[in-house]
C-alpha cells in the first residue's frame, strides 16, 4: 500500500529531544522505512515566526527532493507583513504550493472573519486545503472556524485522543472538516470513524518529526476496515483535495 504524508515538518527545532529525527535525511529514511512515497512538508522557521522567509527557505531545501511538496504557513497580511491574496496566488502558482497551514493561537491573530476574511476568501476561491493543529482552534473554536468558512476544506492534525465529543458534532454540522490520522489513537478510532462518518474525511499524515511515522502507518495498516477505505486514507483523499486546487 502506498502512503502519502499530508503533513510533516522540516527544519531544526529550537528544542528537541536527543534521538528525534529532525534532519531532512533522517525524515526521508523513516519515510522510506515506512513505505511513504511522498509528503507535504512545511518549515519550522515559517511555523515558529518568520513566515514568509521560512516558506522561501522551504522551497530551497526541497528543490532537489522530488518526494517532498511544499506546504506554506500563512497568516493575515497585518501591516503587509505577509502576502495579500493576489500576490499569494501568484507565488503559490509559481512554486507549486497547493496547501496552506494556519496557526491562529501561535501567530497571535483572531480566526474570526473580521481578521481572516481575505486569506480564507482566497483559500475558498482557489479550493486550497487549509491545515492546522487541533490545539490552534480546539473545542468550540473548531466549530466556529468550520462554520465561518464553509467553502474552505480544513484538515486538522496533531489531534491526539481526547476530542471525539467535540469532533462528532462538528463533523455532523460542517462538511468541510477532514481529520489527519497522525496520532488519532482512540481504541478502534479509524474503524469507529469510518462507521459513523466514512473514510473520505480521513487524511493520512505523520506529524513528523514530533509525531511517529511508524505508529501512523501501523494505525492504517492494521485498522479493521476495507482495503478501499485504507487506500482512500493512505493517499486517495489527499490526492482528491490537491486535484481540486485551482490557482
Amino acid at each position: 500500500m502506498r502512503f502519502f504524508d499530508a503533513s510533516c515538518r522540516l527544519g531544526r527545532p529550537a528544542a528537541f529531544g536527543e534521538g528525534m529525527p529532525w534532519q531532512t535525511d533522517e525524515i526521508l529514511e523513516i519515510m522510506a522505512r515506512c513505505h511513504i512515497d511522498g509528503a507535504l512538508a512545511y518549515h519550522i522557521v515559517a511555523r515558529e515566526g518568520e513566515t514568509q522567509d521560512g516558506n522561501e527557505l522551504l522551497l530551497r531545501e526541497i528543490a532537489q527532493i522530488p518526494q517532498l511538496q511544499p506546504q506554506w504557513c500563512a497568516l493575515p497580511a497585518t501591516y503587509d507583513e505577509f502576502l495579500h491574496a493576489d500576490a499569494l496566488r501568484d507565488a503559490m502558482k509559481e512554486n507549486g504550493v497547493r496547501t496552506l497551514r494556519i496557526a491562529p493561537k501561535s501567530f497571535a491573530h483572531s480566526a474570526r472573519p473580521y481578521a481572516m476574511k481575505e486569506l480564507m476568501g482566497f483559500a475558498a476561491e482557489c479550493r486550497v486545503p487549509v491545515f492546522f493543529d487541533y490545539g490552534e482552534a480546539p473545542c468550540d473554536e473548531l466549530y466556529e472556524i468550520c462554520h465561518d468558512y464553509p467553502d474552505v476544506s480544513f484538515v486538522i492534525t496533531n489531534t491526539a485522543y481526547a476530542l471525539n465529543r467535540w469532533l462528532g458534532p462538528v463533523l455532523d454540522a460542517c462538511g468541510n472538516l477532514y481529520l489527519g490520522t497522525g496520532n488519532y489513537v482512540p481504541h478502534r478510532g479509524l474503524e469507529t470513524f469510518c462507521k459513523y462518518y466514512a473514510a473520505d474525511r480521513l487524511v493520512f499524515n505523520t506529524n513528523l518529526p514530533t509525531g511517529s511515522a511508524t505508529a501512523a502507518v501501523s494505525l492504517v495498516c492494521f485498522a479493521d476496515i476495507s482495503k478501499e477505505e485504507k487506500e482512500l486514507i493512505a493517499h486517495g483523499n489527499i490526492e482528491r483535495l490537491l486535484g481540486e486546487v485551482r490557482l
Binding site: M1, G17, E18, G19, M20, P21, I30, R33, C34, H35, N158, A160, Y161, A162, L163, N164, R165, G168, N183, V185, P186, H187, R188, G189, T192, N207, L208, P209, T210, G211, S212, A213, T214, A215, A216, V217, S218, L219, C221, F222, A223, D224
Partner: protein, 259 residues
C-alpha cells in the same frame, strides 16, 4: 522474524510473546475514546497477536474503589489467561484493603497507583503504604502513572523503600520526564519503564533502550483507551534488533509478572 513485514503484511505478531503491561478498561469520563470493555479489547488483541494484558478499571480509580477492583476481577474471570488485573488502592477510604484480591488466583498480578486523579495525592503518600507492603510481600509489580518529573521521583522513592516489589514508571520514559526515569532505572534494580504514550517521536524508544538497557523497557500501550496498533507498529518499525524487540514485547515482562 521480519517485524517490518508484519506491519505491511498486516499480519498479527504471532511467533513472539507479547504482553501489555499498561492497560485500561471501563468508561472514560472526561472524553470519549473507544470500546473499553474487556471483550472488545481482547478482539483487538487477537487481531494483533497480543497474548495478554494487565489492566485496571479506570472509573474505579476516580470513583468507587471496591466496584473498580471487582469489575477488574470479573473481567479477568471472563477472559482467563488473556486479561490480568492491577488492584487499585484508594487513599481516602480507611477500610480499603487489597489483600482479598490476592488470597487466591483471581487474575490480579500487580498494583496500580494513579495519584493525580485521586485528589492529587502524592504517589508515595503514606496512605498507599498498605498497598506497597502487600506488593513487597508478594513481590508484585507496581505500575505508576508517572507523567511529570516529580511523579517519577516519587515512584523511585517507593522503589528505594520497598526493594522486593518492581516499580514500572508508566509513560515517564518517553515524556519530558524521561531524564528522571533514566536516572531512576540506573540507580535501582527494581525500576522499569514502559512504552505507553499517545504521541512520542520515532527514535524515542531507541533512545530509552540506549540509556537504560533493553531489559528495563516493557511494552505498554494504554489500551483500550488507545489502540495498541500504533505502539506495536512503532516498536515493529523501530531501529532495534529483533531480540531487543522480543524482550520489550514480552520477555522482560515475563520476568517480573507471574504469568
Amino acid at each position: 522474524m521480519d517485524f517490518r513485514e508484519l506491519v505491511y503484511g498486516q499480519k498479527p505478531f504471532e511467533g513472539v510473546f507479547v504482553f501489555d503491561v499498561h492497560g485500561h478498561i471501563g468508561f472514560e469520563q472526561g472524553s470519549q475514546l473507544g470500546p473499553n470493555d474487556g471483550e472488545s479489547m481482547v478482539h483487538t488483541m487477537d487481531r494483533m497477536g497480543v497474548d495478554g494484558i494487565c489492566v485496571s478499571f479506570s472509573p474505579g480509580i476516580r470513583g468507587a474503589w471496591k466496584r473498580g477492583n471487582d469489575q477488574t476481577k470479573d473481567t479477568c474471570k471472563r477472559l482467563p489467561g488473556r486479561v490480568f488485573g492491577y488492584a487499585v488502592p484508594n487513599p481516602f477510604h480507611a477500610e480499603c484493603d487489597l489483600t482479598p484480591y490476592f488470597e487466591e488466583d483471581l487474575g490480579f498480578r500487580g498494583v496500580k497507583i494513579h495519584g493525580n486523579i485521586q485528589g492529587e495525592t502524592p504517589e508515595n503518600d503514606p496512605r498507599y503504604a498498605h498497598a506497597f507492603e502487600l506488593a513487597n510481600r508478594l513481590k508484585l509489580p507496581v505500575l505508576f502513572h508517572a507523567w511529570m518529573p516529580y511523579e517519577v521521583d516519587r515512584a523511585a522513592d517507593v522503589a528505594s523503600r520497598y526493594p522486593d516489589l518492581n516499580v514500572i514508571i508508566g509513560h515517564g520514559g518517553l515524556t519530558f520526564a524521561r531524564d528522571r526515569a533514566v536516572a531512576a532505572c540506573k540507580r535501582y534494580d527494581n525500576v522499569f519503564c514502559d512504552t505507553a504514550i499517545s504521541s512520542a517521536p520515532d527514535g524515542s524508544i531507541e533512545w530509552l533502550v540506549d540509556k537504560v538497557g533493553v531489559e528495563k523497557v516493557l511494552y505498554g500501550s494504554d489500551m483500550s483507551f488507545f489502540d495498541c496498533i500504533h505502539t506495536l507498529g512503532k516498536l515493529a518499525l523501530a531501529k532495534l534488533s529483533d531480540t531487543d524487540k522480543e524482550k520489550i514485547l514480552g520477555l522482560n515482562a515475563k520476568k517480573i509478572f507471574d504469568l
